[in-house]
């Protein structure tokens, strides 16, 4: 199964995860400071900055795109409860 390395910049911890894992699942396991509310891509609580490796993330869904726009999030932001890692090296600001 393809794997991805997700590094949490503030904790210095890198987690090797199966492709398809959502960011919030990894964040929860390592105690990173990504907060979440609805976990369904609606509330915008879990907006997270991707420092590098955005090309290894799943495409934004229509819903995620809408919520990010409504929250005036930048292009390097994703909803951790929606964004899946697909492979390669990804660094998140958390």
């Amino acid at each position: 199964m393809p794997k991805a390395n997700v590094t949490f910049e503030k904790t210095g911890l890198t987690v090797n995860v199966p492709a398809g894992t959502r960011l919030i699942e990894i964040s929860e396991k390592v105690g990173a400071s990504i907060t979440y509310g609805c976990r369904e891509g609606e509330c915008g609580s879990c907006i997270t900055k991707i420092v590098s490796g955005m090309e290894h993330m799943s495409e934004r869904s229509v819903l995620e795109d809408k919520v990010l726009q409504e929250n005036m999030a930048g292009r390097d932001n994703r909803l951790a409860c929606q964004a899946q890692v697909l492979g390669g090296d990804i660094v998140v600001k958390a």
């Binding site: 503030k10 090797n16 907060t35």
Partner: protein
């Protein structure tokens, strides 16, 4: 002191047209007030247009419209500015727009979503402004300044350039109702000013400092806030006071190169106290961390919130009683909304009899406050064993290492994380 006045000229061409609410004793469930509040709205007349700056709470709209009609006709109003969209300032907006449909509404970029959610008017048109934008009323120019998070994302200030009058929204305001309106006429409102800052602005003190850097160079001759007295006597002294208030109440005495870790605990049989001691001991083995240990049992009035504001890490020890952490812990955790705690480090530990839910609950609360919880908490059944106290020392040491940055860049697999979690459950 609270007999309602007519519209009051605060400067040539500019009137206060707000509303008094002297009976109010509790504002929006979070603030007390000893003599009510005011909802300040202003009417600015220029040679080519009339602007209304903010409105009032819907229940006081009649009072507002009565004063407005004393100084302007609705068909003269060309501009409506909302510096802040909370209902006590936007409540009369729908009716004002109905009466003055030609008026253009000016709001900040971040106010857009709130406007739609707060003002249920179909096809509402508005103009978005940011720092540097202006609108002309002929011989009067309204210039806008984005001052977000004071205390909502949408907040902004508006200046009449030619007169140096700053309409500041909630900043520099307070809940104090006195019909004499001006700071050199009303009763002593200093406690209300400070109380308002501590409860409304304090969580956003970094934004307060940013806003002050933007507003101080304007050297306003008069500050007209959205609540409380109009500051015409020494207005800049209130800015200076904000700068003082935005400094931490208790300075971090640990030194620039030393991190501060606070370990709070409460213990019914002494077991969680033993664990707290071990956490502190472990943390103290790390150079560059100052560790402080506090018992929450009799500390209701101690300034822990002030201490936490300047700390780098906080750890909470609580026994589990009836499936929950105990009240003094929740009391302190619920008080942290008054300060900025995001990105501090947090941890939890505690003794339990048969279930031990408190630790996860505290960790969830810490994450909810956007703290990082980098080290899994430690639970011990009743009297902690030497091994469990060792885990507490490890918890303290690892937490301290995360504080100093003295951590190895680790790689761990998701499978290992899941295995660890199952072993811990």
């Amino acid at each position: 002191m609270t007999r309602a006045p007519d519209a009051v000229e605060i400067a040539p061409g500019t009137h206060w047209i707000g509303a008094l609410d002297p009976a109010l004793r509790e504002f929006d469930i979070i603030l007390k007030t000893a003599n009510g509040t005011t909802y300040n709205s202003y009417c600015v007349r220029g040679s080519d247009g009339v602007a209304i700056i903010d409105t009032v709470k819907a229940a006081h709209a009649d009072e507002f419209f009565k004063r407005l009609e004393q100084v302007a006709r609705y068909d003269e109003i060309s501009v409506i500015v909302l510096n802040h969209l909370e209902p006590d300032h936007s409540g009369a907006l729908p009716e004002l727009m109905r009466r003055a449909p030609q008026a253009k509404l000016y709001i900040s970029a971040k106010a857009q979503l709130m406007l739609k959610a707060l003002v249920r008017v179909a096809n509402l048109e508005y103009n978005v402004v940011q720092t540097g934008d202006h609108v002309s009323l002929g011989d009067r120019t309204l210039r806008f300044f984005s001052t977000p998070f004071l205390h909502w994302p949408d907040t902004q200030c508006t200046l009449i350039e030619e007169q140096g009058i700053l309409f500041s929204g909630d900043v520099f305001g307070c809940h104090f109702c006195d019909a004499r309106l001006f700071n050199d006429k009303v009763g002593d409102f200093r406690f209300s000013f400070e109380y308002y800052y501590q409860h409304i602005m304090r969580p956003f003190r970094e934004y307060v400092l940013e806003a002050l850097s933007l507003l101080e160079p304007l050297e306003p001759k008069l500050i007209a806030p959205a609540h409380g007295p109009i500051l015409r006597d020494a207005p800049q002294s209130y800015m200076q006071r904000y700068r003082q208030l935005a400094a931490p109440l208790l300075h971090n005495e640990a030194g620039a190169n030393t991190k501060s870790l606070l370990v709070f605990y409460i213990s019914s049989y002494g077991n969680t106290a033993l664990m707290a001691q071990a956490v502190a001991e472990g943390a103290e083995t790390e150079e560059g961390v100052r560790v402080s240990l506090y018992d929450l049992q009799s500390s209701g009035d101690l300034p822990f919130v002030d201490l936490i504001e300047e700390a780098d890490g906080i750890a909470f020890g609580s026994p589990t009683i009836n499936g929950d952490a105990v009240k003094p812990v929740w009391d302190l955790l619920s008080s942290l909304a008054l300060i900025k705690v995001s990105d501090k480090l947090g941890a939890a530990f505690g003794s339990y009899g048969w279930s031990g839910e408190a630790i996860n609950m505290i960790e969830d609360r810490l994450r909810g406050l956007k703290l990082r919880v980098p080290v899994k908490g430690v639970r011990a059944r009743l009297i902690p064993t030497e091994e469990e106290l060792g885990k507490c020392r490890d918890l303290g040491k690892q937490l301290a290492q995360h504080l100093t940055g003295n951590i190895e860049r680790r790689v761990i697999s998701m499978t290992d994380l899941l295995t660890q979690e199952q072993a811990h459950a």
